[in-house]
Each structure stands twice: as C-alpha cells, then as structure tokens.
Subunit: 454 residues, 2 copies
C-alpha cells in the first residue's frame, strides 16, 4: 500500500493538471450545443481507464449522452467486486457574470480549485480514476474486482440509467457499490452518510366557480377556493409540525437511541444563520437535526390562487392549486404514502369546491445502510486514518435516485464516500473543491480498497 | 304630466337616434388615444342640456377628463333640489373580435340596443337628459330644482370626483341624490336597491428563510411559509363560513325580520347555474341571498407562494402572500375592521415566520337607506305604475364609491334608480340594454319627478 501512497505523493502536480484538463471540458449535459463536449468528457474517462490498465473499457451509447463502463476483474473470484458509480456531466455555469474566474478555466485560489464540476462530480470521479491507476501502475493489480459506471446524464435526471441498470443486470452486478457524489459535514471532518430520504408528491386543485367572480356579487354564496385550500392544507400538519395525514407515520422505523446519539454527536448546522429564518421549528419530540435527517416531512412547494398583481382585485378566484412533496424515511413506501395523501385530501376537502389530483410520477424509497455494517465501518476507519479525526455518522434529507435504483435492482450495500464540503457551491457560480480534500480523498480510497479486500 | 309622456311617445325614434349618436362616441377614459372622444362626449351632454333649456351648463376641466355640471333652479325655493349623478365615460371594448356588431356602431337586435355604454352608463344618463328636456319643452319648467353632475372618470376610479365634491360643497349641495348606474334584478321587474356594501382590505406576506430552500436539506427545521399561510388563513373563517376575526360582527346592524322578509320575496338567483359552482355555501344562520346582500364577508382574492410552473420543484418557499378584502355592512367602520384584521393576523401568525402587512388604502363604508323612506317609496310607486308590477327591494354586495362619498360629504338620501338588466354584459363584449327599458325607464323618471315635488 505504501508504494501506492508514494506514487500519489510523487505525481501530485501531474494529477492536478490532469484534473484541470478534465474540468476544462464544458460537459454541460442539458445544453445540446455541448453534446460534443459531453462526449469528449466521456472519452477522457475511458481513455484514462485504458491508460490505467483496465481490460474492458466501453463508451456505451444511450438515447442521450454516453455511459462509460469499464471493468478489471483479475483480483480473483474470492475477492469482492465493487461497482463504482459517478457522473462526468455538469450543471450549466449560468449566471456567468457571477464567476470570479471562468467556469471552465480551472483556477486555484486560497487552497480551493474553482471550476464547474470540481466537486460535483468530475473532481470526485477523477480521484477514483487516479487511485485505480496508481494501484495498477505500482502493484500491477487492484485489491478487489472493479466495475466502473460513469454516466453523462446525472444533471438531467439520469434519463437512461435506470433502464440500462435494469436491462443489463449481469453486467453491473457486484457485491457492493461505492458512490462519491456527496460531501462531508465540514472540511476535514470524516463523514459517513448512511441514509437518504425517499420522496413522493402530488399536485391538487380546488375548483369553485367556472370563472373568477365579483366578490361583491357572489361573496357569501360561493365557497372561496383559496380559503378552502387554506382550510384543507391546515388539516395536514399541526402547529407542532406533526403531519396529520392518517397512517403517515405508521410504518416509520423508530429512531433507535444509538442513532439519536450518533446524530447528536454530529456537527450541528446553525439553521438560523444559514437560512435567515427567524426561528427554527421541529416535529414535536424531535430536534430539528433529527427531523431533517431522519424523520419524514411534508412540504408545500407551491401554492397559487387568484390575483397576484399589484394592488387589489376584488374577485373570488375560480381555483386554487397546491404542490406538495414528502420526504420519506425507511419503512415508508412512496406509493402507499401518496395513497394516504390522496385519501386525506378526499376526506377533508371542504364543501363547495371540487378536488382534482395529479400524482407526481417520480418517487423514491428512502435508503439506509446499517452504520455498523463492516463496509461502513471500514469506510470510517479509512477516513479516520487519513484525516486523523473521528468520523461522524449522518443521514441526509435529500434523495439520490441512483442509490434507490441500485438498491431496488441489486439489493447490494451502497457506500457513500463523499469528499465535498458545505462551501463547494454545487450548481451555483464559483463551484470549488478544497485541493487538500483531493489528496486526502485519494489516500482515503487507497486505504478503503485495501480494507475491503477479503 | 300627460303632455310629457306624450312628447316622449311622439319623439321615440328621434331619441333613439340621438342615443345612438351619443353611443357612437368612443369615450374610453382609460385610453389616452381617446382623450378627444371623451371630451366630445362631455360636450354632447353639455350641448343636450343647453338645448333642453338649462340655465347653467359647464364643462368643468379636472386634472383628468372633464365633468359636466348643469343646473336648473327655477322650481322655487319650496321645491326640493335633486343632484343627479351619472358618467359618460365607458370601459374599453376589448376583446374586439368577440363583438357581434361594432362596439361604437350601435345596433338593435332582438329588442336590445348593442353598444359599449348602452347600459353602463351612457344609456341611463341619456334617459335623464331626454326626460329633463321633455319637461322643459312641454311645460316650460321642471317639477323640482335639478343639479346635474356627469363625470368622465368613473371607469378609472373617479380619480378627481371626491376632491371636487368635497371642495365645491355648496355647488353640488341638494336635498337628495339620484343615481342611475345600476340595474333591476330581472327585465321588467321593478327593483329598489336600498343598500350597498362597503369594503376594506389588506395584503400580507409571511417570510420564512431568505431564499427558497432545498426541501430535503432543510425540511424539518424551517417553518414552511406556505403552510404557515394556510394555517393562518384557516383561523379567519370556520367551515360554516363564519368569520373568526374577533370583533368582526360586533357592530353589524342586525338584520330585521322585515328585511329578511323583503329579501325572501326578492327573486332568487340560481347561483349554481350562474357561477358553475358545485355547491352553494352560506354563513351559518343566513341564506346565501342574505349573506351576499346584507351580511359582511371576508374573501381571499389572491394567494401565492413558491413554485407555480409545471411539474415538481422540491423547495421550501421563502415567502407566501395573500390578498384579502372584506365587504362590509352598515355599522362596520372600514378602518376599524382593517385594524381587527391586523390584530388577528399578528395574534395568530405561526411560529417561525415573519409577518408584514400592507393596508389597502382605499376603503368604503356600507350605504343603506331606509326602504320605507318616502323618497324610496315614491321610486317604488313610479316603477310600479310604469311596469305594472310590484317592486322588489334588494341590497347588493358590491360597492359604488360615489354613493359612499355623497353620503359622507352631504349626508343626503341617495336613491338608486337603475334600469339595467342582468343580461346587459357590462364591461364585457356585446354590452346591450333593452330598448323597452329605455322607454319605460323614461316614463318612470317622469312619474318620479312629479311625485317628489313638494
């Protein structure tokens, strides 16, 4: 292992220059003008793996942007096989004028590498490529069998990935998966992300009269759809932030004392400071941190009815519409929760308005891995040995669709090895990544591959 | 009186042609391209009154469009003086392509005169002009003293009228006022409109975080402003349509049994049929008709928060805004009710959001005249003698600012003599007025001026 770490140390500058070349390619997947660039980034990944010594390297065409698949299966049938997932496409850089340096002209300032994709996810993908190459160049082999899957459509919803994973199950089959597309709770703070929330949602409209009505002529005889909406929404959550939809919490796995302890020990975000909200709220019986990380939520994402211009328009609106999504935790089935929401709305819709519902077609189950799982423990140890600091264990309120898909299709454990920091400004101008995390992240990966071999 | 009625009968066709000439002038007050036309319409009114034999006729300039003032004060100091108010400006005719005949090319079809302004309000103003002329041409005098005030800014909020009435109080002073800018509950159904609602309102915003937030990262720690809005609005009205704002009903004059009987006897609108609402609602203890005509209401006119586009955007919105107006009844002071609304909001605002309120600057007190007042009884008799049908007594949920102003400044009784019908399509394409109401309305006015003389 020492020779691999030495190799990384000796080639530090070279690897940073190679990363800059990778980041220089504007692989913006949502912009058809960049179709050629997206392909160029795929070829960069494929070329790097070929140079590294991978047996099989494919740039697999899809209906959209290509997926890079590669494998090195010479660790022996006793050794485990890992599926590494990442993405080489990036978000658009707009608004351009807010960037201090050009988004695709990587530049280091104050120890951070500024460029679109430096953290999400080209920087983190590249760390894996370098580590795999370092093993092969120095030891001639990898500690375990490796399958690589780097897609080019993550930032546009991974439109083709589910079908590929589903239809080519044998190809991507492995013992566990590693994904590096997330972050640590703070710079230099080893972080084990062991749970993500799922989600489901719907949009619904309450219709009153056929058209907006004169509030003087009809006010008093017609149910106001905006008021009906307020009354209906108010039945869904109480003032202590407890969701009132019948059955909503029924299948929620209770939060074990050990987990609550883990969360308590994890660094706390100052929510007031970071959001500007005047006061922090939380579900009765749970801290705000527990609620965001590990308890299900119901949020109104959009709400509209009637006149929105300046001044007054004395109408009774014809309709009112709300968009709702729920973040789900292990135990909750998205479709079942969606059914419960529909039942609740149908049961509580006020007299005088007609309810119509559009179910959100996308949904995801929550994902959680046992924080005591050996693959997780080894990840924590790898982090700790490199960063010289005890790892914290967190769950996250967000969802990563590919995690849900790999879980659903392959039922394999998924290890989320993220090296980003809260300051990275993903999807925003001036995205960056700490240069130090680039080196320490690669060292962590060297430790990890060594630990997970049988 | 017979000679006046005969004169009207003999000059029927001539008067209709004159009305068409008046309607032919596109006096659209909101459109500066029509400034000259608006003035032309003012001059038409002034010219007609001069021809009729009025002593004083003025086209009084304002900061906007001119006001026509005229008086004939030769009925003697024993005779009462009436202030007649009307307006010669009209709404824009858009959308033009929905008109069957041109909006400013008056055309009679199926007994109705189609033209912008035929009902609101040039047609009704013209009936007054003709009747005054008929009296003067046939009898050489009028039964009472008459002051005429016909403005050109009603459709743009009567921007200058309040100041004029207030500053030139002596000029417009009278014993009572007559306004013909409203309608009957059905064609050929004599209608006494003896009450209008007042109104007040406000807009308020609930602010949570400084920006829209990721619902996964922050859902659970941050109060959702849209949910706070729903919870707050839901405290304002219960499910039986009773306003829950403390003190809201305290000063409402109770609805006398006689009034309820009057309303019961008035023709009922089929609200389901006319609005398309699935079900009719009403304040507990009152019929929908009583509620719209004579009980105060609180309506949400607009409501908005967060994402309104297609599909899903998983955010916690930064703010939520609602626009509210109340329709008020006699006893309620607009400013006091606005204060009560503010108090209610401040008291009930949920934890975690900040409330900011913009008070609606315009407000109006409700107006009601005693339905047994002799001036009202005489109006009912005049209607009944002409239409050969008993009059019905109604109150209306709408507000007419000039009524409130005349009431506030002069404290004189106001008689609303409206001849429109529910089918007139005011402010819409294909506005029209029944030709028969033009003749019968003028006969009603002849009866009325005769009855109100001392």
């Amino acid at each position: 292992m020492k020779e691999v770490l030495d190799y990384l140390e000796q080639h530090k500058e070279q690897h940073l220059e190679e990363l800059k070349n990778f980041l220089h390619i504007p692989s913006v997947s949502t912009d058809s003008n960049h179709k050629g660039d997206v392909k160029k980034a795929a070829e960069f990944v494929a070329g790097y793996l070929t140079d590294a010594g991978f047996d099989t390297v494919e740039v697999q065409e899809t209906k959209g942007h290509p997926l890079v698949y590669a494998e090195w299966m010479n660790a022996g049938s006793d050794a485990p096989t890992v599926l590494f997932y990442g993405h080489y496409d990036v978000q658009p850089p707009d608004p351009l004028d807010e960037w201090v340096s050009e988004p695709f002209q990587p530049e280091i300032r104050d120890g951070r590498l500024y460029a679109r994709g430096s953290s999400d996810d080209k920087g983190q993908v590249f760390m894996h490529l370098v580590v795999l190459k370092a093993f092969l160049k120095t030891t001639g082999s990898l500690p375990i069998n490796v399958k690589v899957c780097v897609e080019g459509e993550e930032e546009i919803g991974s439109a083709n990935l589910y079908d590929i994973l589903h239809e080519q199950k044998d190809k991507f089959e492995a013992d566990f998966a590693v994904i590096s597309d997330s972050g640590m709770v703070a710079k230099d703070q080893p972080t084990i992300l062991y749970g993500l929330k799922g989600f489901t949602g719907l949009e619904f409209t309450l219709k009153g009269p056929d058209n907006d009505l004169h509030s003087g002529m009809y006010g008093g005889a017609i149910k106001n759809p905006a008021m009906a909406m307020a009354q209906l929404l108010a039945t869904m959550k109480d003032e202590e932030e407890v969701v009132q939809v019948k059955g909503f919490y029924d299948k929620v796995e209770p939060l074990a004392d050990e987990e609550r302890q883990l969360m308590k020990e994890s660094p706390s975000e100052d929510y007031k400071e970071s959001t500007g909200a005047k006061e922090i709220v939380s579900e009765k019986g749970y801290t705000a941190k527990e609620h965001t990380m590990a308890r299900p939520t119901l949020e109104i994402n959009g709400l509209f009815s009637g006149y929105q211009g300046e001044g007054t328009k004395t109408i009774i609106p014809a309709t009112a519409t709300a968009k709702l999504t729920c973040r789900l935790v292990p135990g909750q089935e998205p479709e079942e929760i969606q059914d419960l929401l529909v039942d609740h709305l149908e049961k509580h819709v006020p007299k005088g308005v007609e309810l119509s519902i559009t179910r959100e077609p996308l949904s995801a189950k929550a994902y959680k891995v046992d924080p005591d799982h050996p693959l997780i423990k080894k990840a924590a140890e790898s982090f700790e040995e490199t960063f010289n600091k005890e790892a914290v264990y967190v769950r996250m309120g967000g969802s990563i669709p590919v995690v849900e898909w790999i879980d659903a299709i392959y039922k394999m454990p998924i290890v989320l090895l993220g090296f980003g920091t809260p300051e990275d400004r993903l999807h925003s101008p001036n995205e960056s990544f700490p240069v130090e995390h680039f080196y320490k992240g690669m060292q962590t990966l060297v430790h990890y591959w060594n630990k997970v071999k049988k």
